[in-house]
Amino acid sequence: MRKEVPLLITFVISIIVMLSRITTGPVPVIGISLPELFEEYISPWMTVVSAFALCLASVNLIMVHSGNISRKRQDWVYSLILLATLIIYGAFCTYVELNPNNETAAANYSLIYNYILSPLMTGQWACLAFYVASASYRAFRARNLEATVLLISAILVMLGAAPVGSLIWSRFPTIQQWLLDVPNMTGQRALLIGAAIGSFVACLRTMLGIERSHLGIGGSS
């Protein structure tokens, strides 16, 4: 029961969903077509269940940090700040979502979103530009032939992609476009096909219940 039911759910649901996109006409016994079954039931269900799943990480976060606070672990003050923002933000956002007609609340929420959350997020990402700069100085050494090839094509792309490149030499944009369209496209296509094959096999293993570690039931069978 504990093992078989989840494996059965995965198998049946995945077969229905897969076939629902490539078949038409009613299924002999149940009298309803698979696309209809998918559209009327499975798909709306999925929307609801995934909405529940969205909260899961947040609940985990609440548990970890409330634990930090109650045990007064090192830096628990920061955990308190985190929890407080989470609760205030969560409550405010929920109110706005459930009362879409209240324009004042929505406008205030936008203010907080645009001037606190969004700059924090972008600020964090912008740090990566700093790291790229220090990495290009410290780590990107032509330490072997492969790294050299990589660096040369990277520099050609950088020169071609920026307007200044064409001032230095008018052919840089052409070279960049060629690198993008021919070698890059080829390499990406091969990686894409390879990744799709890998993912196909992984999906099949999951579908058939050979792979079950995501359910916390042992390793592979």
Binding site: E39, M46, P100, S110, M121, Y137, P163, V164
Partner: protein, 277 residues
């Protein structure tokens, strides 16, 4: 410590400050280096030029978060500007991230100030959970979204009249921070809609195979692409403002790579041979 070792050991904070200065100067004093328009960007422009403002409605799938900053945001702004110039109606919806509706609201707030009407010229249908599955559900039945972000019934929005499935949209464009597999797998290949994508600079190389195969009809990638688009529309905006600084940024990064490598090779010469690979 000799010069070569010094060249290898510049404090990272000095690197950061140099970077900030090099980027700031051209931002404040742009020189206006002319740029070339990439065929992938032009393709998006041509598609929108070919639409009929009388009857065509465009769907924007807004799947980026504020994290990617202007690199993600300038493309949709430029495209929406073009749509408004041509008087084409559009609808936005989000599948990839819960931040999508807020990003749409930013664009809408600006348009409303300029006198465009919510509900008639455009609408924001909000976020739908379920990622790939939600894309397919929406494509099969666009009215499966009960209300928009302002609580209006979707079926009663003027801009939604005549829209039942994804095929009723003349053109679909996804703005994201990654690759458009979700749309290609669920909608483009099985249902055959006109589809293009706008993404961040980082993801462009991974999309080229889909452009080459015709699954994606146009690709916009980040600031440089948006700047080109603004140029095509004759309306320079934030994308164009950043291009000179972008150029300088590329040059300084190349300089950093060169500096690091010169130091590396010179100091390697002096020492014993390094461990073999």
């Amino acid at each position: 410590m000799n010069l070569m070792e010094k060249m290898q050991n510049v404090d990272t904070r000095i690197i950061y400050i140099v970077l900030l200065i090099v980027l700031s100067v051209p931002l404040l004093r742009p020189i206006g280096i002319p740029m070339q328009i990439s065929p992938m960007t032009r393709a998006v422009y041509d598609i929108i030029e070919g639409l009929n403002p009388e009857k065509d409605v465009v769907l924007l799938s807004m799947d980026y978060s504020p994290g990617a900053g202007l690199d993600a945001e300038v493309c949709p702004v430029a495209v929406v500007e073009h749509l408004m110039q041509r008087g084409i109606k559009w609808i936005a919806i989000s599948f990839g991230t819960t931040d999508g509706p807020m990003m749409t609201n930013r664009i809408i707030a600006d348009l409303e100030q300029r006198g465009y009407k919510y509900g008639e010229d455009f609408a924001n249908l909000g976020y739908m959970a379920g990622e790939e599955n939600a894309v397919r559900l929406f494509a099969l039945d666009c009215l499966s979204v009960p209300t928009d972000v302002r609580g209006n019934k979707t079926s009663e929005l003027p801009v939604m009249q005549g829209i039942k499935t994804i095929k009723d949209f003349a053109f679909v464009i996804q703005f994201s921070m990654g690759t458009p597999e979700m749309w290609i797998r669920q909608v483009v290949d099985p249902m055959g809609v006109l589809f293009a994508t706008g993404t961040v600079t980082v993801s462009v190389p991974s999309i080229v195979p889909y452009y080459n195969s015709g699954q994606v009809k146009g690709v916009m990638g980040g600031v440089s692409s948006a700047a080109q688009y603004e140029l095509l529309c004759n309306k320079p905006g934030r994308g164009a403002a950043m291009m000179d600084a972008q150029s300088m940024g590329h040059l300084i990064i190349i300089f950093f790579i060169a500096l690091g490598n010169i130091g590396y090779f010179m100091s390697k010469k002096g020492k014993e041979t390094p461990p073999s690979k």
